[in-house]
Symmetry: C2
Subunit: 963 residues, 2 copies
């Protein structure tokens, strides 16, 4: 009877499984025994979360014994591998049987009704009011689907235990245990690589000196010590059981593997039989995800494992999730062992990135120091500060501003030199190569981890289709079925106009969002212009002297706040847009979401900076014909010495602000605040004080932890930071240092979160960091171009070079400042724009100077751009081309020279393959020997062939020996 | 006894296999019976090749019966799957036993001696002279190794048959047959995916209209018709035999698979036991490759299969290797079926490339036609041709040349317009995107083929280490062993200074070769300059008028000849350099070789063209201060209208010449010539006429065919052509057309070669075209940059735009020619450079014009570059940046938008996975049912779990049922 589930499509209409039915009956009986009320659930939820602290207290070894509560089934034998929770409503006896009343005219339940005749025969009594009935039906529907699903799970061989009357009323728990044969079967299907008996000796050379020096940097974890022996691994197969060391069945599959196996079954198991299973579409589609989505279950999670892995958990807590070990490597092997490969890779990546930031920030600091040291040797800033050269500059705004002398910009000019010196050119080349090295280093590290974690040869599985997608396809095919009787192109059918429309919608929406960002940036620009103008007009002289500083600071802070707010908005927008697209699998959903979120957040974070770097001060016009926005505001100019200084300020405020606020405030502060609020609330609901005295079951504690929301936000934060580190590094060499300091905290913060504040995530296998690697590559590529433009257009590097080698009379920098300033005849001011106080400097001005390459008033073509302008422009552009192509070429060379697979790993893999081959050949030989013993007399003849007819029977000799 | 080989490392010193021993004895006895002489081999070789024609005659069905000769062992039952050939020397009876005399003091044979005591006991008699002895020993050594090897092959289960007295004296043949159990075993080890009984229906929509229209384009092959059913495939496993349809064992593994299985065994089998097999290093290293390398065997090849696949072979011959089907698609499935995936992929790629060339050449022709049509509307060339504007130009050479009027350059200017018009800008953008599309299209096609050919999930195996590499490692470790007794770091040890030195050597050598290329290009330039000067000086006016044409043509031809010669030289150099590096595996050897060859050939082919495009005419200097090479030759100028015309000529001559000469002369002509020579020779050696009358055995016919030399030359040729098509497409829009015409011939030419002129290659599995894809990407990337520079610097596109939008008084192109010409005062000529006949135009010249942007003589800074120059330069550079980045971005977008895996294929793969899963689950269910029948009474209790202790025993129930 139990075979009907998997043979569904071939034996349509067979009666439902006995298991499912029995389970449903059982639950119905239990239902009426639950004493809680409907309204309590919310309060309990909030109160229960208070118990988080319990988890942490539980970690000391002496309390372990108490912690075992709920880690096993009630028989104390079978481990809980997974937990499902659902909401329990207080049922009235009259409602208990009404669960199929609304399904009668619904295609969804056609097959259900067929399989549950007794449900149909018990027709509902029609007394209750319509609203109540609807809510009840909803609940009944959910319960019905749960029962169906749980029945199917039992049919798959899983063992379930229910607990509805724990210490957390309103919440029911289904504990799932996977028995040995299910584990074996699924491990075989999933092609899990398990360690075999056979060991190989790795060839790692243990350089005692280096290992002694770096010893304090390694976490104090046993695993790191004995690296030289590795068990060969082989995809698990029940037919090859003799390969594996199955002496201890309880620990052969560790808790991480067990939970991921159960999760695999949960994902695969449909809640009803499929009608279209030829093409993998079921009416109630893909397993647990859709049930969670529809609210039939509240949550599904594996338990934090504190039994067999007590030491592991403890070690993680002490050697990883603690600020006191900030200088140490992370125990990546342990993280993987507990959280699975995907999360292990994230932390490994974060570690590599942080480690790589050390040299980058060192060089960055050196570059900055070089700027500080050479500031007094810089001829242009000396010339600006030289009070003997009293160069009269044209006013910075219309009418209210007046002429000013260049040496009042002395401070800015000297500060600019800190970030605008030849060392920054070197530094941006360095950082481009650094990024390439980082990529390569990570690839190699990833390869090494793949080897160590037995992931070589593991293929990323095509994911199960998402529930929403299947629902869409189902709708389509149902519609088709109604129209004509053709139902045979469902997979293709969904790619019709609807999806195309979606794509267009999404593109339009994305553009709209980016448009919003641009509008906001423009708004901030307007704010700056207008505030500046207003403040300039103010009569208070101290206000006016503080104008620049005030405006800069407020504008930067406004920008920051806008960025932070939009960041949250864009996250939601991206999620909504991706949902519109209805991607087929969870993986493609995730990738699309990530890509969109990244684009929006990236544009959001960098638009103001790009404006300052490339547009500010370029669209000013010239004295006598300034460019006006809304015909009244003049565009902003940069301070003398280039916009680099302002770029640097904006960059540091955004970066520091984002990191401080998003990391510290959002990641530490807000959870703390929440806890406080909960604490206060729980004080009020003191009527349950006595319940809190009782120990909670383990699965209850875990239920009150935050669910794991994926690694996307963590990666995203780091990638945006990577953008700050690489994109404008030419203007802010200290960025890597700030990033480094942030990451040292970030690692431990994340670690704490994973160990103590989140439900244990299901261990997911992954060979690489997926789309993030491509995004990193993209950012690194863009960084090269952006840096090329920053150096050539934002900094004064190229004009200086051009002056020195083309225009300087003596080949030195003397006279550079004069050369960059054009002449303006004050009589050429447009009406009403001349300064009101023209003699503020103490003398009347005929000619003022402004920063541009234009012909002087006395040339035949006054105020036209000069030959110098074109020469400098050509030089700038040539620099961009050379820089971009040379640096990209160098990156490619780095990419090409460093092999992706470390030499020792490839040797090792090859060696293990040969060992494996030898093992199999030995086995073959063993079989042949058996055969030879049988045909020993035939052998003595001088024949060149073993008789081929005899062999095949001997093949399965060694199969069941070790079972 | 037979188990000793594979347990070598564990049971060192066990006696050698009985099989090996017996085989050696057998051969020794046979040896003396061979009647041929030492010297005959060469003659026979040459004569035998004459028999190629026989192969083709053999294809008609009525002759099939005769063709079966030699396709089976002498029992007529067992198929010949592979053939090894070796040279047979006439043995003297005294020599026959002397084969181990020189090994006594050699570490190599320590283990051999241990295993062959009887060989040692028969000590050599020391009569023969030293040279003779040495040669004999060499022969004996080879024979000895062959025997050892063949013994090991027998131990592996292969069946061998020797034939030393066939119709080709001097050559011995070892025919190898793989019996069923060996095939099964190896297929399992190689994880070959074989079709199962289970079929799935593909969802290909058969659009009847399109299929009807394209029907004549498809090859007339049955396979294309019935695509809708596909057998699911699964890695072969003897434990899952019930999955496969084994009813016909002879055809389950086809001949391609059989031969590749045997080849795998041949590669793996070492000729002696390994001492260090822990780390996979043997004293006589990797199997057949090293034996072939050392000359122990002459050749190793599978046979052309004309039995079961008679129809296939016939079909290939008719529907593929024939010029009459040039317009059809290739029967790629058949090619793969016969030659394996690697060669199948090459032809599929060639097909895709050729197909993609069709739109490119169409657009190219349109662009060319656009140039032809608009030539009369082109204002600058109209102005040049306008005889009323008599612009006097400065002389083109010193003293002998005189002033000339611009309208004499009318023809060139008009011709230039054909290639230098706005359409070419469009065309180069188009071609950049075309290249991106081509890549994507190929990726998708590859993916589709991977699916159709059951390669999904197949992992490229790490290759066996190359014999040379292992030899090196062995030397190292032996040396170490002698020094100290540590032998445990052999894999790492080889990466010492030696390899590093090699790398440096190789780099230096490559640079040197590229230097040679540059030197030769410079030589050709000098030739042109000096010839031109000499011809200019000639008094004959017709000579002088033909100067340009003569010089251009001869120079281009010299270039072409140099390129062709250097191509051959560089091939050899690259091979030599790669051998120096001692790469570890054949794959890395091949990749390094390909990379080096590509770099050298690429530089070789494109250096002269790059010179013309970017350097010619730029380093001329100006009238009055020309630039001189060796202080006597002025650098070349381009004709008026840019160098684009000359670039175009050079490009077309190189491309056409290379294709015509390399393809037609080398690929068709030389083999024909060789055949002729052989024919004449064989006439002379008529003493063997009677032997030729006899039918040759199949393996003999195949032996006389050319060995398969790999796909590298074929790919290389195509990639260089791809370079011509994409790199300078802005200057030569007809390149795709020429390439297309060439490829249509090329495909059928290659096909003929593979079917009729080469030994059958061993079928190699491959998922992709490997390094070639990366090289293609690289070329496409470089093409974008090169085209950007060609458009902006070589063509007049940018100066025209700049003139039109910046300097033109009325916004039209009128006056452009005048604007590009600077003024020169003839009184400023340097001494002795003024023309000898200044009044050749009929009037005395004060001011002549030259093409450059310089200040006129009357400006304050005469002859300095003008503002226009800088403006144009800036525009050119800006164009390069914009073009490069926009086109690269567009390529990336194309890359990103088009999914790598076609939708239907991914749906199909997913579907098949589910079907496979269902199959396995059904099987599981079957097992459970057996169990349920056993425990049927226990089921009736209301327990939530099946008893886990009972399950495992049921697992292996269904294993041997279908065997």
């Amino acid at each position: 009877a139990t075979s009907s589930f998997w043979s569904g499509p071939w034996r349509a209409g067979a009666p439902s499984s006995r298991w499912g039915h029995q389970a449903a009956m059982m639950t119905n009986e239990r239902y009426s025994a639950v004493p809680s009320t409907d309204k309590e659930v919310d309060i309990i939820n909030i109160k229960g979360i208070e118990e988080i602290g319990y988890l942490l207290n539980c970690l000391t070894p002496e309390e372990t014994a108490q912690c075992r509560h709920g880690l096993y089934f009630q028989d104390g034998e079978r481990r809980v591998d997974y937990v499902l929770t659902y909401q329990v409503k207080k049922p009235s006896s009259s409602r208990a049987r009404r669960h199929s009343s609304r399904f009668t005219d619904n295609a969804l339940t056609r097959s259900l009704r067929r399989t549950r005749p007794q449900a149909r025969s018990a027709k509902p009594d029609p007394e209750p009011g319509p609203q109540e009935t609807s809510a009840d039906h909803h609940e009944d529907d959910k319960r019905f689907r749960r029962e169906e699903f749980e029945g199917n799970l039992r049919e798959m061989g899983l063992e379930l235990e229910k607990d509805e009357d724990g210490k957390t009323p309103g919440v029911g728990f289904v504990k799932i245990h996977a028995p040995w044969n299910v584990l074996c079967r699924e491990a075989e299907f999933m092609k899990l690589k398990m360690p075999t008996r056979k060991v190989s000796f790795t060839l790692y050379k243990i350089n005692t000196f280096i290992s002694k020096v770096t010893d304090p940097l390694h976490p104090n974890v046993e695993e790191n010590r004995i690296e030289n022996v590795k068990h060969l691994s082989h995809p698990f197969s029940r037919e090859k059981q003799h390969l594996f060391d199955l002496s201890d069945r309880d620990s052969f599959f560790d808790s991480k593997t067990r939970s991921s196996i159960v999760f695999e079954v949960l994902k695969r198991t449909k809640c009803t039989k499929s009608k279209f299973s030829m093409v993998s579409i079921s009416l109630c589609p893909a397993g647990i995800t859709s049930l969670l989505g529809s609210g039939a279950y509240l949550a599904a999670y594996p338990l934090h494992d504190v039994i067999t892995y007590l030491t592991l958990f403890q070690l993680l807590y002490e050697e990883w999730a603690s600020y006191s070990v900030f200088y140490k490597y992370q125990p990546v092997g342990l993280i993987r062992k507990y959280f699975g490969e995907k999360i292990g890779l994230y932390f490994a990546w974060l570690g590599v990135y942080t480690q790589m930031l050390i040299p980058a920030s060192l060089v960055g600091v050196f570059v900055f120091l070089y700027g500080c040291v050479t500031v007094d040797d810089d001829i242009p800033s000396m010339e600006i500060c030289d009070s003997r050269r009293n160069i009269t500059m044209c006013p910075l705004c219309d009418r209210v501003c007046s002429y000013w002398t260049l040496n009042s910009a002395c401070g800015t000019a000297r500060a600019s030199h800190l970030f605008d010196n030849p060392a920054t050119v070197f530094f941006s080349i360095f950082m481009a190569l650094w990024a390439a090295f980082f990529m390569e280093h990570w690839k190699r590290r990833q390869m090494r981890l793949n080897y160590e974690w037995d992931l070589t040869g593991f293929e990323e599985e095509e994911d199960h289709p998402r529930a929403e997608y299947e629902f869409r396809v189902m709708q389509k095919s149902l519609k088709k079925e109604h129209k004509a009787q053709k139902v045979h192109t469902p997979g293709v059918g969904v790619r019709g106009g609807g999806v195309m429309n979606c794509h267009i919608n999404v593109a339009v929406e994305c553009c709209f969002q980016i448009g919003v960002t641009f509008a906001i940036v423009f708004g901030v620009i307007l704010y700056r212009i207008s505030t500046k103008a207003a403040l300039h007009m103010s009569s208070n002289p101290t206000t006016r002297s503080n104008v620049r500083l005030t405006v800069k600071t407020t504008a930067a802070i406004i920008n920051l706040v806008v960025i932070l707010i939009l960041d949250e908005v864009y996250g939601a927008v991206a999620r909504w847009l991706t949902a519109l697209e209805v991607p087929k699998t969870d993986k493609s959903f995730e990738e699309r979401l990530i890509f969109k979120t990244f684009i929006l957040k990236f544009v959001n974070a960098f638009t103001p900076i790009i404006y300052i770097a490339f547009f500010r001060g370029r669209l000013v016009g010239r004295p006598g014909s300034y460019l006006y926005v809304f015909e009244s505001y003049r565009m902003e100019e940069c301070a003398h010495g280039g916009c680099l200084m302002e770029l640097c300020i904006q960059l540091s405020i955004t970066m520091l602000g984002k990191q401080l606020i998003q990391n510290n405030l959002f990641e530490i502060g807000i959870p703390k605040l929440k806890k406080l609020i909960r604490y206060i609330k729980s004080k009020r609901s003191a009527f349950q004080e006595e319940e809190r005295e009782k120990k909670l079951q383990r699965y209850e504690t875990d239920f009150f932890l935050e669910p794991f929301a994926g690694l996307t936000p963590e990666y995203m934060e780091m990638i945006i930071q990577f953008g700050f580190v690489t994109l404008f590094v030419a203007s802010f060499p200290l960025a890597p240092l700030f990033a480094l300091l942030n990451n040292i905290i970030e690692i431990r913060l994340d670690a704490k979160k994973f160990v103590a504040e989140l439900r244990r995530p299901v261990a997911a296998r992954a060979k690489d960091i997926g789309i993030w690697y491509n995004i990193l590559r993209g950012v690194a590529k863009i960084a090269v171009i952006v840096n090329a433009f920053v150096i050539s257009f934002t900094s004064d590097f190229i004009p200086r070079l051009v002056y020195q080698y083309m225009f300087s009379p003596d080949g030195s920098m003397h006279g550079f400042v004069n050369h960059t300033l054009s002449y303006f005849n004050v009589s050429h001011f447009q009406n009403g724009t001349a300064p009101l106080e023209p003699e503020i400097l103490g003398f009347s001005v005929d000619i003022c100077r402004y920063k541009d390459y234009r012909e002087p008033p006395w040339s035949p073509t006054p105020y036209e751009v000069s030959k110098q302008f074109w020469a400098v422009l050509a030089a700038r552009l040539a620099f961009v081309i050379v820089f971009q192509n040379v640096v990209m070429l160098m990156s490619d060379v780095v990419d090409w020279i460093i092999p992706d697979i470390p030499k020792d790993i490839s040797v090792q893999i090859h060696k293990e393959k040969i060992l494996m081959m030898d093992l199999f050949m030995k086995e073959e030989q063993g079989k042949l020997q058996v055969l030879d013993n049988l045909t020993v007399d035939g052998e003595k003849e001088n024949s060149s062939a073993h008789s081929p007819q005899l062999r095949p029977r001997a093949v399965s000799h060694t199969q069941s020996n070790s079972f």
